[in-house]
């Protein structure tokens, strides 16, 4: 279970699954309608996408199996290497005999060994940032960044945190969508549920949309937000800056215009009032029943030249209405703010044109684990890959000082460092030898 080959095979398998996720049409990417259309076209395609699960790779059993197996291997590797890691971070030099044997294979001669050669060697190595200690009478051993290896478990443990966060999010995530006219209240429980949580319930918030905020720049909409309030407090939300109420985020996803219609009888008394969410050009018409079903109104998509006019420009936009009173013939009209359309015994008045805002209500838990995992991953990578463990040994053989070293990573860079250490040590030893002679 701790074999690198197994880990490599699993990583390659995971990579293959990721490749399938981008090469094969996925339901969540292309949308339900287009996905179902694909299934209808061809039985083989339907078999591959639906039966084999290739249309939802990220939530398919093979995907979960590979991820679970990878994490299992990861846990086994971390546990397996725990002892080795602990041993390697201790400052524990090898035996003198081991150092001398290694020196025979790879050492570079520096010069003659004066009396206090080991003291000089220790001082030079410590000057280069190593932790050094004499080993017996013929060797000095030094190590630098011996804690660098801790970066390995830190980085790999981060995957466990990310996985835990991902699982918790998957189980607790709920998504709902609602369109609310400014000046209206809404309950999150009454929103259209896009995704039910597998654990827990939908959030219960009562909120009121005070105002929709639209920012224009050179005639284009450059920002969109809303001000909402309720028993949970008052917040301003914008695209990229959702409102947060505990584990629930409320995001702005769109906006449009909403005619406010008054239905009056012949005496001028108001029989009904409503603000209707109407689509923009290209969308569907909106049909509603008013006055206990007596009147049916159909509002066509608004023929706006710009997607969302500024508040100053709202009043001038026309609204196309087709009204039917009881079983009478429908009556059509195009109204601007303040204008009236008789529909049978009633009169439809366009009182105002306001904004509506589309909100996405997302509740989930586990994001904290995810972010902690990201942080640990970066820390672990820097720890493991930027600081690297290296050892240097200075030994004496036949009155000749020799130096050798080894590095986990960046061998060329270490060779340059070793040459520099050797050069400094050579000068130190030469100076010590001169002092002795004088």
């Amino acid at each position: 279970m701790t074999s690198l080959r197994l880990a490599a095979i699993l990583m390659a398998g995971f990579a293959l699954l990721l490749l399938l996720t981008v090469m094969v049409p996925q339901r969540r990417t292309i949308g339900d309608a287009e996905f179902l259309d694909l299934l209808d076209r061809n039985d083989t395609v339907a078999f591959a996408l639906e039966t084999l699960g290739l249309g939802s790779v990220a939530t398919s059993p093979p995907f979960f199996a590979v991820v679970a197996f990878l994490l299992l291997v990861l846990i086994c590797v971390i546990i397996d290497r725990f002892g080795v890691t602990l041993r390697r971070i201790r400052f524990r030099p090898p035996s003198e005999q081991t150092l001398l044997l290694r020196a025979e294979k790879a050492a570079t001669s520096i010069g003659q060994a004066p009396k206090n050669w080991s003291k000089s060697a220790k001082a030079v190595l410590e000057g280069f940032g190593f932790a050094a200690a004499p080993v017996g009478s013929q060797a000095v051993w030094a190590v630098k960044h011996r804690y660098a290896i801790l970066g390995f478990p830190v980085f790999h443990v981060s995957f466990l945190l990310i996985f835990a966060g991902g699982v918790q999010i998957y189980l607790t995530r709920s998504v709902a969508a609602v369109r609310v006219v400014e000046g209206q209240a809404f309950q999150t429980e009454q929103a259209f549920v896009v995704r039910q949580p597998l654990w827990g319930a939908l959030p219960k918030l009562s909120l009121f949309v005070e105002q929709v905020n639209v920012q224009h720049e050179e005639g284009e909409v450059v920002h969109l937000g809303a001000t909402i309030s309720g028993n949970a407090g008052r917040q301003e939300l914008w695209v990229n800056h959702p409102a947060r109420f505990a584990a629930t985020s409320i995001l702005v996803t769109g906006a449009g215009l909403s005619p406010e219609l008054w239905i009056q009888d012949k005496e001028g008394f108001t029989a009904d009032r409503v603000a209707i969410v109407v689509n923009a050009k290209g969308g569907d018409s909106t049909t509603i029943s008013l006055v206990d079903g007596i009147t049916e109104l159909t509002l066509a998509p608004l023929p706006l030249e710009k997607p969302l006019p500024s508040r100053d420009e709202l009043a001038g936009n026309p609204v196309s209405i087709v009204g039917r009173y009881a079983n009478a013939q429908p009556v059509a009209g195009i109204l601007k703010t303040g204008e009236r359309l008789p529909v049978g015994d009633l009169v439809v008045v366009l009182d105002d044109l306001r904004y509506w805002v589309a909100l996405r209500i997302v509740t989930e838990r586990g994001g904290g684990w995810l972010i902690a995992g990201f942080f640990l991953a970066v820390v672990g990578l820097i720890w493991r890959l930027v600081w690297f463990r290296r050892e240097v040994a200075v030994t004496v053989k036949d009155q000749t000082v020799e130096i050798w070293g080894r590095s986990e990573l960046y061998t060329h860079r270490f060779d340059v460092e070793l040459e520099a250490i050797a050069e400094v040590l050579r000068k130190e030893l030469a100076t010590a030898a001169e002092e002795k002679n004088s």
Binding site: E217, N240, L251, F374, A377, L381, H412
Partner: protein, 270 residues
């Protein structure tokens, strides 16, 4: 773009192309001096390129990050800066020849996109944009340097050449160090993008094609690091790996939006 801006733009490309040509010429005709000339030409091109980036920044009023053209302009700048910095001591012959073609490719592709200046739209008005984009460019620049070093290594390591082992070792180490740097910055990029996605779309991860390709690319480089650190892959094997791995980077940055629908990644804001 205006005629003057276009003139600067094409001047930059010309200098980069000349730099590549000089280094290739020096390699083919065994004239080592031309490697240094290529480096100088790339440096001149970078000066003009820097003026372009600053110019675009000044007239647009925002960091050049909106749309394929601005991303290409600024991203290629990072590639060239990192290539020249890595090769500053002239110890890596052919490095510019290996890496700069990617800058040329990206800038050329960007020039074919809509170059109009657009206001910063709502979906990009986030502090996380700068972190995500900055680390993305660092990562892709580093991967490109690794690829360039890989190409240089493979060229120098042919049977009929007598390239010193010292040169090959340096190139090998540059491949590895660039990959390490790219991997670390790639990790930050993905993490920052995920946190940003939560604010923008309400979800840390949506299996968006660009997201998935970037994860796939990250995984490939992770496998490369494993092979190097644990199995000791170096030399030609590592070189081929980093040269082929750049394909994933090019696809995730460029190719996905060209051939696939369904991505919410706003590279090209309309």
């Amino acid at each position: 773009m205006t005629a003057l801006f276009a003139a600067f733009f094409w001047t930059t490309l010309v200098f980069y192309a000349l730099a590549v040509g000089a280094q290739v010429f020096g390699e083919v005709f065994d004239k080592p001096r031309w490697a240094g000339i290529g480096h100088i030409l790339a440096g001149i091109g970078l000066v003009v390129h820097t003026v372009l980036v600053g110019w675009r920044w000044a007239i647009s009023g925002h960091v050049p990050t909106i749309g394929n053209f601005e991303n290409a302009l600024f991203g290629a700048w990072f590639i060239v800066v990192m290539t020249l910095w890595a090769g500053r001591k002239r110890r890596y012959p052919l490095l510019a020849a290996g890496a700069l073609p990617f800058a040329l490719l990206i800038m050329g592709g960007g020039a074919m996109s809509d170059t109009a200046i657009r206001p910063m739209v709502a979906s990009l008005k986030s502090f996380w944009l700068y972190i995500h984009i900055f680390f993305a460019w660092l990562a892709y620049g580093a991967y490109t340097v690794a690829c360039g070093a890989g190409i240089a290594y493979l060229t120098k390591n042919r049977k009929k050449t007598d390239t010193p082992a010292e040169t090959l070792n340096r190139l090998d180490e540059l491949m590895f160090r660039s990959t390490v740097f790219g991997f670390i910055t790639d990790t930050v990029m993905i993490a920052a993008g995920s946190i940003w996605a939560k604010d923008l779309w309400g979800s840390y991860w949506s299996w968006d094609p660009v997201e998935t390709w970037s994860l796939l690319s990250w995984l490939v480089y992770g496998i490369a690091l494993h092979l190097r650190i644990t199995l000791g892959w170096r030399g030609r094997r590592l070189a081929w790996l980093v040269v082929l791995a750049i394909i994933g980077v090019l696809i995730s940055f460029w190719g996905v939006n060209l051939v696939m629908e369904g991505s919410s990644h706003v590279f090209n804001v309309g």
